[in-house]
């Protein structure tokens, strides 16, 4: 069995194992797994409306997953996607609310602002890592809290339009579309999914096809060799964090310009950034993998919302997601089993 196939099969097995173990847990705790999965499927694909919602949910997951994966490929663990996501959201909404511009300028400008904000938020840990070798995990975690509270403060005091949230963005900055919404009988789907898919392509192209990507990956694999080869390790560390932050910022823009159209004071972390870590892990830190992992997470999350209607607590889906992540993290086990299996096949 080729390495490639094993790389592909590992996450699939992880998903299957997660679902199987989740089923066992349902049985043991007295819920009907068939009902639960039907409810889950109905909740995600019951009608086009639900599917529209899945797409809407998948959009920020893809981008957050890309953000985590991109930094990871350069050997950095960006836990700060959540914070970069929040500042990106605010920046996009700020542009959306403040300016009056034609759509063709307004949307790109708002997304650009989100990228800048997210990029800046990631630049700080990148700089500290490059200059002083401060571990990025610690700094990004702290930056998450700073983001949350600073953004809440700004929303509450500077942009508050009542009820602790900003005003609505102008129509010209909105990614919502009457057409898409009607197509899915009124879901909150928006054009952001196209942006997310483009970003997948950008990440793949940047990492695999450009000299910059060659450097970034080299730094990720072996900093000493990268240095030996004349690459600037520090520059690439900072750059990778900034690009990662840009993806996270765009993810925030999707919420600001698409899903919500405003920003409200956040009672706590949204979880999108943290789900991004799981998505990246499941997707093997590749662009295409992130896309499919995000799709799975979106389906599970939206589908889960309807599970209480079938009398099954939706926390069960959270358990299944956790199990999948667990099995991916423990993919070593799955690999060994697969390799054993393939060996027997040869005999």
């Amino acid at each position: 069995m080729s390495k490639r196939l094993i790389n592909l099969l590992t996450p699939i097995f992880a998903v299957l194992l997660g679902i199987i173990l989740g089923t066992i847990i349902m049985l043991v705790s007295g819920y009907n797994p068939v009902d639960a999965f039907i409810a889950l499927g109905q909740g995600a694909f019951g009608d086009v409306y639900q599917t529209g919602e899945v797409v809407r949910q998948v959009t920020p997951y893809i981008l957050a997953g890309l953000a985590v994966a991109f930094a990871f490929r350069v050997g950095l663990f960006n836990i700060g996607v959540e914070g970069q996501f929040i500042v990106g959201w605010l920046a996009a909404v700020w542009v959306g609310v403040t300016f009056e511009l034609p759509t063709i300028i307004h949307i790109p400008l708002a997304i650009l602002a989100a990228m800048l904000a997210g990029g800046l938020w990631a630049f700080i840990p990148g700089l500290l890592k490059a200059r002083f070798r401060v571990h990025e995990v610690i700094v990004t975690i702290m930056m998450n809290y700073i983001a949350l509270h600073v953004v809440n403060y700004i929303v509450n005091t500077k942009m508050n339009q009542g009820s602790s949230k900003t005003g609505k963005i102008h129509e010209t900055a909105s990614l919502r579309s009457e057409w898409l919404s009607n197509l899915t009988t009124g879901s909150s789907i928006h054009w952001g999914i196209i942006i997310a898919i483009i970003c997948c392509f950008i990440m793949w192209f940047l990492l695999e096809k450009t000299t910059r990507g060659f450097e970034l990956r080299a730094v990720g694999f072996n900093q000493d060799a990268a240095h030996y080869a004349g690459m600037s390790v520090n520059k690439n560390i900072i750059l990778s964090m900034v690009i990662s932050g840009c993806f996270a910022g765009i993810a925030g823009a999707m919420e600001g310009l698409g899903t919500f159209g405003y920003m409200a004071v956040q009672g706590g972390f949204t979880g999108v950034g943290f789900n991004g870590i799981a998505v990246a892990l499941l997707g093997g830190n590749t662009a295409i993998g992130v896309f499919f992992a995000a799709l799975l997470f979106g389906i599970l999350k939206i589908g889960a919302l309807s599970m209480p209607l079938a009398g099954v607590p939706k926390e069960l889906v959270d358990i299944i997601i956790a199990l999948i992540v667990f099995f991916v993290a423990a993919s070593y086990m799955i690999r060994i089993v697969l390799e054993r299996f393939s060996k027997k096949g040869v005999k």
Partner: protein
């Protein structure tokens, strides 16, 4: 070796199962009912969407769900489609989806619990004009939306009176969730109540910034108690659970110590029978039940805002803890203030600005 592994995996699964089983117990009974009574079709069904606190937040959302359950029982409805039900939200992004899902399931009336759902209710109400919606704690101006507001300040005022008459250190604490109008009403009313009953007592006001961070609530409570406060009131949802934990811990360590906590939204006496002095009740359950009944009777107040105060029994003070040292005095004082508020003699301030000019007669 292998056996050992399997055994461990099995015990893990079992452990997870029992935990879940415990969580879902309350649902089990209702589910059984649902299966038993499929034939009986009712014409009116109602559902609600919780905010991120979840249906078991021991506070706001739970109170609303109790109201729905009560309504269901009174009218012979079953949990589920065609009866009464709820959906939980894990993030702000879920509100719209959940509201829409319920509307599409054909529920006649769908509640959005909490001001956070304002925009979601507003949007979905336009999309689903045939369904009636209601929002709690905010106003949505749509013909098919009823808004429910409370005079939280009145309940909080009474809690303030109780706190003022209980404190010995003349040092009282207030823990707010987020700085939003609803909580500002709690804060203003509470401060006014303390001021009215004991002007020399000072109140330490702190906000946790979240409604779902019990550990944060505990930290704040710990600081307040250690700096001399002996009565602390919270209006912070699940964050406030930390307050009861802290008070209970302190009481356990030193049973002779006089410390009290005041609950919010529902009678939170169950959170610590030894330390919960009383609770500023916001009867979301009453409001939900009341509004549901009106809707069922075809009198749905679409486009209107219903305000529930002391007068409507929409807010109130829970029975004062029998272990409180001067329970009688408190009961007496509370009774007097209730009269005054009901009669309109006293207007309890609902904002900080109003509080500045407030003076109790």
């Amino acid at each position: 070796m292998k056996k050992h592994k399997i055994g461990m995996a099995l015990s893990l699964v079992l452990a997870a199962g029992t935990l879940l089983g415990a969580c879902g117990k309350s649902d089990d009974t209702t589910k059984d009912q649902a299966k038993g009574g499929d034939k009986e079709k009712t014409t009116f069904s109602v559902a609600m969407v919780t905010d991120v606190g979840g249906v078991d937040d021991k506070s706001f959302n739970q109170s609303a769900w109790e109201g729905l359950q009560g309504f269901g029982k009174d009218n012979g409805l079953e949990k589920g489609k065609g009866g009464y039900d709820y959906l939980q939200s894990t993030s702000d992004a879920d509100y719209t989806t959940n509201l829409n899902t319920l509307a599409r399931q054909g529920f006649n009336l769908v509640y959005g619990i909490g001001f956070l759902m304002h925009d979601a209710v507003d949007g979905i109400a336009k999309q689903q004009p045939k369904t009636n919606f209601a929002i709690v704690d905010d106003e949505v101006k749509q013909p098919n939306v009823a808004s429910v507001l409370f005079k939280e300040q009145e309940a909080a005022f009474l809690a303030g009176v109780a706190a003022a008459l209980t404190t010995k250190s003349n040092h009282i604490g207030f823990i707010g969730g987020m700085e939003i109008p609803v909580i500002e009403r709690f804060e203003s009313g509470f401060l006014a109540g303390v001021k009215a009953a004991k002007p020399e007592a000072k109140v330490d006001v702190q906000y946790s910034g979240a409604f779902d961070k019990a550990e944060l609530g505990q930290t704040i409570a710990s600081k307040m108690y250690s700096s001399g406060a002996d009565v602390v009131f919270h209006a912070a949802g699940a964050t406030g659970n930390g307050l009861f934990k802290e008070a209970g811990d302190l009481k356990k360590k030193d049973p002779s110590r006089e410390i009290w906590a005041i609950g919010v939204d529902r009678d939170q006496n169950d959170m610590g029978p030894d330390v919960v002095l009383t609770s500023a009740m916001k009867r979301v359950d009453v409001a939900v039940k009341d509004l549901s009944t009106k809707a069922k009777d075809g009198k749905f107040p679409g486009g209107e805002t219903a305000i529930y105060g002391l007068h409507e029994d929409g807010v109130g003070l829970a029975p004062v803890n029998s272990k409180a040292p001067n329970k009688d005095a408190i009961d007496k004082a509370v009774k007097e203030w209730v009269e005054k508020i009901k009669s309109g003699d006293v207007k309890v301030p609902g904002t900080r600005d109003e509080l500045k000019t407030f003076s109790a007669k």
